[in-house]
Symmetry: C2
């Protein structure tokens, strides 16, 4: 088995899967596609996003069919990721490596699959669907690998090399627990808060649309991704999401108590001084760390 990937099969031809397909093809890798939507497959063929296609997960779930496929990449919503992996049991522990693109990992529980390494290529796009695919979507972006099943070295290296060389991504390794908590804080909570903020404006019946320039516009992109994917992420990562939210609420309450001057503070300080100091420290932390 070579560590180089010459042929990949991509399950799920949304923006993520189709972008990986385009990047792969640009490096001369042959791409087979599968999608439950016949229209997506047709679009992918017509637009030269894939070279060939498969008819069903049943067909893919066969060592014979996968004989010359180096790597299978699942690009379906997080909940379906586990379902599809479970429907590919006949090719667990085969020479074909398997990876995914899910933004949540803790629900992916499998036993005895030495050819499965989990991946989270980070795109940061609010678009979805095959027509939003771009060959350079992931170029120079980060890909976080998780190895909860203790993947064989040859599979590990093949998947890692694929992301590095074919997609030109930067690689990091995390445990599943670390991954899900860090992304609860840096991605899932910001998205949840953005959905809530836009929803509250919707319910307020105030005409604010022309006035989004002073801060709201940053929240707009985050409330516009694929709702099915975000539903899955919120539900599957709800424990870490609530931990992250609790942390944010503590910080919010602290600021609010200074703003409303209801915080107990020593007489030698003023609420205004402390609020200024607090905002200044947050700004400095941000500038140092990000």
């Amino acid at each position: 088995m070579t560590q180089n990937v010459e042929k990949v099969l991509i399950i799920g031809l949304g923006m993520i899967g189709a972008s990986i397909a385009l990047a792969s093809k640009s490096k001369g890798i042959k791409v087979i596609g599968f999608d439950s939507s016949k229209d997506s497959i047709q679009y992918a063929i017509n637009n030269n996003i894939i070279d060939d296609f498969s008819d069903s997960i049943d067909q893919i779930n066969s060592k014979e069919f996968c004989r010359d496929i180096d790597l299978i990449i699942l690009s379906v919503p997080p909940k379906q990721t586990l379902d599809v992996l479970n429907n590919l049991k006949d090719i667990w522990n085969s020479d074909t490596s398997i990876t995914d693109t899910s933004s949540v990992k803790n629900h992916i529980k499998l036993e005895g699959a030495s050819n499965i390494l989990l991946s989270h290529p980070i795109a940061g796009s609010d678009q979805s669907g095959i027509s939003s695919a771009k060959a350079n979507l992931f170029t120079n972006k980060k890909n976080v690998l998780c190895d909860p099943f203790n993947c064989d070295k040859e599979h590990y290296e093949k998947v890692e090399n694929f992301w590095k060389n074919a997609l030109q991504m930067k690689i990091a390794l995390m445990t599943v627990n670390e991954h899900d908590l860090v992304f609860a804080m840096t991605s899932h909570l910001p998205h949840l808060v953005s959905y809530a903020l836009i929803d509250s404006i919707r319910l307020s019946n105030h005409d604010v649309e022309d006035n989004a320039g002073g801060g709201l516009k940053e929240f707009l992109r985050l409330s516009g991704s694929n709702p099915e994917m975000w539903r899955d992420i919120f539900v599957l990562n709800r424990v870490d999401l609530i931990k992250a939210l609790a942390g944010m609420q503590v910080s919010l309450n602290n600021l609010l108590e200074l703003i409303t001057e209801t915080k107990q503070i020593p007489d030698i300080f003023s609420h205004l001084e402390l609020l200024n100091k607090e905002l200044d420290e947050i700004k400095s932390y941000k500038e140092d760390k990000f």
Copy 2:
């Protein structure tokens, strides 16, 4: 009195004031500057941001001194805006128009000043200080005018024309109440939430910095502006800020109850279905309105 501005005096040479100075000079308007920092005045002279300077607010507070000044623009933090206006009483109701740039308006309470129109030019920058000034900071951006003192028509038109012609801004008119509530929702709350989110990451001691790409990066700009200005905005607009926050918390709780499946819903639906529908509706609202 001509409706055209030939000479302006700018009080406060931070990023906002100095950017207005640069834009004015680029249109051939003569600019006098004042700042409590001698260094800022020196920088402004050395970098050709202003043509001349004044030594003190006391000096400016004189009809004689202001005789040939068409317009005075206050670009100091929101709280100081009221203080400086009160220190310019000798030129209230003179031929010199007066305006400001504060992001909050409800605290600016004055009686009998027919030459004062309030302005809120919207920049959306996370920078501050004179060295961040740019001549085109406000070009094609929005400027919200508020007229709580029933400003004389000639002053109103002079200020409006200045923003339109010299700064090339788009003009809107709002009441002070409307302005402060709309900007609590679209700007002040997003900033407060961003400060809280960054603070919670700081307090968590998790190393998340490399993983800001998936959503957090949108929040980073908002937690980096001038802390003194944001302290003033939060404190002065706390009533509307808390109203906006209460609205966001209602929406957040609704989403959380669907995520944790603790919401009471009819048996004929599932929490997952309703969550999906909710996220979909928020996304559609966003796409329609913004």
